[in-house]
């Protein structure tokens, strides 16, 4: 896969809207349906928001680094920061067992959304500190099935 795009954004919550606009248009041009695209946009936004909040603690001098790759099989998005490295136990997939009810807590949602939207999510500490999350999604309908190449 050759990266289609690399996007380095100052860690400013105000810039997230433009990142989402980019992604929506990009995913549409890749032929991904609007609903699936909306989910991807949400999950990537959550990853960026986590870098801003938890890695940089809202210091807007930090940079959030997105890499977007696509081929006939699927999509890969990487989101990296050079802030405070996360406690790995907080980054695990959690699913509710039968009969369990999600306690309505106001936190702990973003990472689980990423797991639920993408087929694969893996976190790694950055080379020089920070965090990198790599998220992969097969195009719906199987390899090369999405009508990529659409206008």
């Amino acid at each position: 896969m050759n990266p289609d795009v690399r996007l380095e954004v100052r860690a400013d919550p105000k810039l997230l809207r433009a990142v989402r606009a980019f992604l929506r248009s990009y995913l549409e041009s890749q032929g991904l349906g609007a609903e699936a695209a909306a989910n991807v946009v949400l999950a990537v936004d959550e990853a960026c928001a986590n870098s801003i909040r938890h890695a940089y603690h809202f210091s807007t001098t930090g940079v959030v680094d997105l890499v977007i790759l696509a081929d006939d099989a699927g999509l890969e998005v990487q989101v990296a920061d050079q802030g405070e490295t996360a406690d790995p136990t907080l980054l695990r997939r959690r699913e509710l067992g039968a009969g369990e009810v999600q306690p309505p807590a106001p936190g702990g949602l973003g990472v689980q959304i990423m797991y639920r939207v993408f087929d694969e999510v893996s976190y790694a500490p950055g080379e020089r500190g920070g965090n990198r999350v790599t998220m992969r999604l097969a195009w719906p309908g199987g390899a090369g099935a999405a009508p990529r190449g659409g206008a």
């Binding site: 919550p13 105000k14 997230l16 809207r17 989402r20 609903e35 909306a38 989910n39 946009v41 949400l42 936004d45 959550e46 928001a49 801003i52 909040r53 509710l96 009810v101 999600q102 309505p104 807590a105 106001p106 936190g107 949602l109 973003g110 689980q112 959304i113 639920r116 939207v117």
Partner: protein
């Protein structure tokens, strides 16, 4: 994001429109957590015109729900738009809220 508020017979309605995200959710928090009049029996958050909501928006709604419970106030989500329904579902919190679809 834009916020409009309205009072009608004990029901305090907060109408949210546009994109609710890490940048704008603090403003929504003011409206659904901090600035609700003590006299309100019902807090209704109208989400029909919300084009996007992230987990910081969901977390704010959870705070509004908790705060309302502690005040014995009913907390209801009015007509959540498809993107709001989706993020609630992905957060596994769609069953936690009182959701109304009708015309108020």
């Amino acid at each position: 994001m834009a916020i409009q508020t309205e009072e009608d017979q004990g029901t305090w309605t907060v109408r949210v429109s546009g994109e609710v995200d890490l940048y704008s959710s603090p403003e929504m928090r003011k409206a659904v957590v901090e600035e609700v009049p003590a006299s309100a029996d019902v807090l209704a958050v109208d989400l029909e015109q919300v084009a996007y909501m992230d987990s910081s928006g969901v977390a704010t709604l959870v705070e509004g729900l908790r705060e309302s419970s502690s005040q014995n106030r009913r907390f209801v989500l009015l007509r959540p738009s498809p993107p709001v329904r989706k993020v609630l579902e992905l957060s596994r919190l769609d069953m936690v809220f009182d959701i109304e679809e009708g015309d108020e």
